[in-house]
Structure formats: C-alpha cells, structure tokens
Amino acid sequence: MELEDLIALTEAESSQHAEIEIRVCTAAGCLSSGSRSLISALEHAVEDRGLGDRVGLREVGCMRLCCEGPLVSVNTSTSDGTRVPTLYGKVDAAQAPDIVTSVEQGRKSAEALHSIDPNGPFFAHQKSVVLEHCGIVEPERIESSIALGAYRSLHRALHDLSPAEVVEQVTRSGLRGRGGAGYPTGLKWATVAKMPPGQKYVVCNADEGDPGAFMDRSILESDPHRVLEGMAIAAHAIGANQGYIYVRGEYPIAISRLDTAIRQAKRFGLLGSGIFDSTFNFRVDLRIGAGAFVCGEETALIHSIEGLRGTPHPRPPYPAESGLWGHPTLINNVETYANIPVILREGADWFAQIGTEQSKGTKVFALAGKIRRSGLVEVPMGVPLREIVERIGGGSPEGSSVKAVQTGGPSGGCIPAELLDTPVEYESLKALGSIMGSGGMVVMDQDDDMVGVARYFMNFCMDESCGKCVPCRAGTVQMHRLLDRIERGEASHDDLVTLEDLCDLVQHASLCGLGQSAPNPVLSTLRFFRHEYESRLIEFSGPPSSAVSSDPR
C-alpha cells in the first residue's frame, strides 16, 4: 500500500456513493432497540421498489441521540451536489416502507415518522473532533474509513515525520489522557520513547468499567480504524512493534468490529510488516477482559494481559519504564488514541486552540439520568456544565429540576445545581471534589437521594475491590454498611464520624486508584449535601432494652 493506492481507494469509494444514502445506527444502544430488524425491513423495501441502484443502505455507528434510537439518517443529493441529511428517531421496522417512499418521492419526511432536527440544540452545541466520523463511516468496511481519510496521518508520520517530531506534535497539542487522570499524553510518549531501544509495547485501555459510561464503546463500535491508526502512530513514535487492545468481554460488538478492522487493515497492508512500504512493523492483538473494573487500572491491566490475576501493584515502577513482561509500555485510553490522527492531520496548534489553557481539545461524555435528551456528547473543554446539561441535554424532564450532576463515576463526585456554571476542565472539576473521569455524566433531580447515590457507588467499589490491600478490601465494606445504616435512619452521629475517618483512611492508604478514589462520592455528597446525612441521624439512646435485665438481682 502506498499513498497513491489510498487515494485511488478513496476515489473508488466516493464514486460508489448512491444518490440517496440511508444510514442506520448499529451501535449497541440502537441495536438493542431493534435496528437489526429495521435494516432488513429497509433492504426489503428498497428491493420491492426496485431502487437498488439509487439507494445505498449503510450500517454505521453511533448517531449520539441514543434516547431516540433506533436512529436513521437519510442523505439526498441535491442538484448542486450538496447533501441534506434528514434524521429520524424511534424508527420501527414497520416504518421502513414509509422512509423509502418518502426519499424516493423527494419528500422531506413522511408524517408518521418522528423526524429530528439535525441542527437542533442537541447537535448544534457540540463540536466533533473525535466523533467526526461517528455515524457516517461504516465501521465494518475499511474502504469507507479510508474514503474519509483514515491512515493518512499514519502515512504522514511514517514518511514525513521522525518519531521525535510526532512526539513533539502530541506534546505541543496539549492532549491529556482521556482515561481519567488527565496525564499529559506527550510527556508519557516521550518517556517511553526515551527508554533504551528494545522490545516496547503499545496498549489501548478499552476496559471502560465505570457504571453509566459508554464513550469508548461508542468510538470502538463506530470508528475502529481511528483507534488502530492512533495506536500505530504511537507505536512508530515510541519504537514499538506490538500492540494490545484490552477490551472488556461485555462489549461483544466492539470486539467483533475491532477484530474485523484489524483483519482488514492487515489485508490492506496498514498493519503488519512493512507498513506503507516503510521499515515499520506493527501488529495488534485483542485481549478480552473478564469484566473486573480494577483491570482498567494500568498495572492490573498489564497483569491481566500477561495471563496473571488482575491485581494492581504499586507504582513506581511505572509501565512506561517496566510494563508488559518488564518492557517499557505505553498505555493510553481509547479516546486518547482517537485524538491522534486528527492532531497530525490538522496540526498541534489547531488542536491546542480548542478548549482551555490547561485542558485542550474536546471531551466526549455519556450523558444520562434525569435529562430530556441523553446520549453521546462531544464538546470543547471549558464549556460550563450548564451548557451540557441544559442546552444540549435539555435539562430535567417536565415537572422536575436538576439537583446535581455526577461526573467521573465511582471515582468522581456530585456537583450541585448551583455550581453548574463550572467549566468542564480537569482542574475545576477536581477543585469541587469530583473529576473529569472518563466521561460518564449522570444528571439527578430533586427525587434523588444523595446518601443513596453515595451508597450505590460504595457498593460498586466494594464489589469491585480486588481484595489485595486492607483499607480498600475491608474499608469499603464498612463504609457501605455505615452508609446503609445512615440511609435507613439507624445511625448515630458517631457513625458519621467513623464514616469520615474511614474516608480518610481508604483515600490515603489504599494501594491503587480504585481504593484511593472510592470515598469521592461520599466526600462530595457530604460536602454539598451534608444535611441529607445529618437529618437522618438518630440520638444514641443506650443499649436496646432487651439487653438490659429487667430483674436486677
């Protein structure tokens, strides 16, 4: 494969574009609400009307407004060549003939169909960088990715840039890890690149265990080549020849699409040996996780890939120095890698001017909870939380009001409605005792009980603790019991003191990030909603009467 071949493929693919293109979302959300049967109904409808050569049916990834799934988008070419998309939501298989008839007759929409304004607030306030091709590109066809520019940045990295220049671009872009901690990506790459030459590895962390989060899954299901390209660029930059994608077993669609994508890329000579006729070799293998949250922690993930029990070990040494089988290993998150091709394509400075001083670029969030419009959202860093919750998400449904927003999952915290003007940035969220995390965002309304929320996340951490270190293994159990008692109104003031003491211990003495962040939901709800705890405490009234003998001798 050479650049000319890529261009030829792109041209061949574009010339195949049908006059009318119908795209159906086949990401997990829409699949579960019936997009598979919808696709066969559409196929039949196209066939029945003999429209096979005018209509192209495309199976694409996430179109973001997941609450309206299954989603269908129809593109009709006008005389001047521009394409006007129409978006339909909650499409039933029985409506397939309606869609096909309406596009055939050039009508904008049939009455019975629920059409969504693609320029409505949910879409208008987003900015697509990582998700630019999500819902457009066909995840199971590499030709479709190539037509949209996939692997061009890899070509450039291999032929026009030295590894050091690639690292320099990533550093200058200001990109920070999207897996939670926000560590500067360029710095991490530079560290691994500086390790002495020899066996090195590139790992993509696609474990995504946070409850409510589906950003990484959507990217993998919708645009897998983008992640592969990002990994290959990283491998070239740091001098690795082998990569692993660690995906959780609960993501079968992502796994199968990645598997397809890897095989296609190999067939096209975009992975494997002598990529783009260079001396660069890069092989990628999938590793399937068995569904332990802690395996997202990088040292546990490394153990798991090595075939050992997925428990963390203390850092240092960091994986950059001693990772897989003791070799320098670069671990980044899915979304982090997905940012790389566009950084090389548009340039570090272009990227750096999106977002804020400390937090550059965009961030993808999985917006859910008590909100009108839920789904996948990409916004520039620095927008106020209010923008996401109220403008994009449309605020709470009729008759309720937003009380708090939970960000960062079990490692994060609840931000009260009064602070919705906080910009979405690593530092500002941290200052409120929450974190950006990987991007789960759950909106809560006045009916949500904050002690219950804290207990829910503590239950999660307790179940997911690997059991290696005492503060996390035994501490989370006791914290959960205390929260449970407070929630049921059976705890005293002393119990609250014990709970706060345990927060301090578990946060500071635990071995890995799971335990260290497990108290965050408790601490943040205590900080902003302390009265919900205190109003439930009871006065301690001595031992229960049954324990006191009624007949003292």
């Binding site: 307790m462 059991g467 270190c469 005492v470 503060p471 293994r473 035994a474 014990t498 003495a509 635990s510």
Partner: protein, 236 residues
C-alpha cells in the same frame, strides 16, 4: 556500592543503594509495623501497615527504595491512626477468637493489636461464614483467621517452587486456595513441606493436632533457607 544518606524520624542514617526504607530503618533500630512483609519474599505492599510519610507523600516502606536526602517520618499521629484502623478492620473482617486459637500468643495480628493499643473495635464484625479445611494429613487451614497477606502464596511459589497456593475471588470474598480450588489434601502440587505454615502470621495455617496456643511459627528455618539460597551461608 553507592550509599545514600537520609533522615528517618529526624535521625540521620545511611543505607545501601537498593535497600528499602523498611530495611534501612530496621537496621537503624527504628521499627515499623508490618504484616504482609516477610524477609526473603518479594514485597507486595498489600497490608499498608508499613506506610510512612516521606516529603509529604505516603509510601509503603517495604517497597520504597531509599533515596538521597529523603525525609521520612514513621510514627506520626496520622500513621498511628491509620495503622490502628487497619488492624481493627482486619479483626472485623473475619472471625478472630484468640482465646481458642492455635496461634494465641504466637500471632502477628494479635501482637500488632497490642502494640498499637487496639482495645475495642469501631467496626461491626462482618462475621463471614468461613470454612476449615482439614483434608491435608499434616496441616490445616482455617479461613476464619486468614488476613490475606499472601505470604503462603509467595513462600510456596518463590521458595518451595510449587505454587500450590493462590487467591480466588475478589474484595471481601477473596479466599486463599490450593491448586484449582481443590481441598488441600487433594492438591497434587503440594509437597507437604510446611513452608506456608511457617510463613503464616496468624492461626490460619496450622499443624494438625495442635491445640490452643501451640502453633509456633518456625520463621528461623525459613530465614536460614533464604540465607542459604541467597548468600550461600549454611547453618551447620
């Protein structure tokens, strides 16, 4: 060999490069409580009792190499508070009834509790249902007394080379297991060497037939073995 100079509890000490803070401190006569650590086995940093404060950070001394000009505190109020909490959490985690325990009087958990002044538990006992495995003809395993320090796992893997032991489950459901979770007596890899029993800090692993307070852990034999292997010093 490079030597590092550092301060521990305000006292200047020198240590060999590559030594851990724990080793260096102990050499200087400063004792730091430990439970998962056993000389000669790879450290895992799991019990968190040996945490110290160095330049504002909490570090497990059993795993942290000494560094030049480190300023280490091993006995701050905060550290003592954490240690006490950890021991209390362990007592509340399983069923410890010292008065009827084979390790009574020879138990590291018990000594830690005494040393740290644990006179009551702030936490509700979990009272899990734990089994006792008496399938091995010479030894027994009582999960009620296990603190999951994984010393048995490591001694069996690193010194005996059998890797009979492992940990199954997660969180509070973790249990040490033999082979692929078979009864110990059926574990075909077990050589009946007894090193795990020697290494166990509590009454979880014991010699069958020993009664209350009779289970003395023979740590000297283990240390002699390690010394013999690593430094070719034989005690004859």
């Amino acid at each position: 060999m490079a030597v590092k100079t550092l301060s521990v509890d305000g006292q200047l000490i020198s240590a060999r490069e590559g030594q851990t803070l724990l080793e260096a401190a102990r050499e200087a006569g400063i004792s730091i409580p430990t439970l998962c650590h056993l000389d000669g086995l790879n450290a895992v940093g799991a019990c968190r009792l040996c945490l110290v404060e160095a330049n504002g950070r909490l570090l497990p001394s059993c795993l942290t190499p000494v560094a030049e000009e480190m300023d280490v505190q091993t006995q701050t109020d905060r550290l003592q508070r954490y240690r006490k909490q950890i021991v209390e959490l362990l007592f509340a985690e399983r069923n410890h009834v010292c008065s009827v325990c084979v390790a009574n009087g020879n138990c590291e958990l018990q000594s830690l509790a005494m040393r740290l002044g644990v006179d009551h538990l702030r936490y509700e006992p979990q009272e899990p249902e734990c089994e006792v495995d008496l399938s091995h003809e010479r030894y027994g395993l009582d999960h009620n007394r296990c603190v999951l320090c994984t010393r048995c796992v490591r001694v069996c893997d690193e010194i005996e080379g059998a890797h009979t032991w492992d940990v199954a489950g997660r969180g509070t459901h973790c249990r040490v297991i033999t082979d692929l979770h078979q009864p110990w007596g059926d574990a075909s890899t077990c050589t009946s060497c007894g090193k795990c029993v020697m290494a166990c800090p509590t009454g979880a692993l014991f010699h069958r037939g020993s009664s209350v307070s009779e289970n003395v852990h023979d740590r000297e034999t283990l240390h002699a073995l390690i010394l013999a292997r690593e430094e070719k010093q034989w005690l004859v």
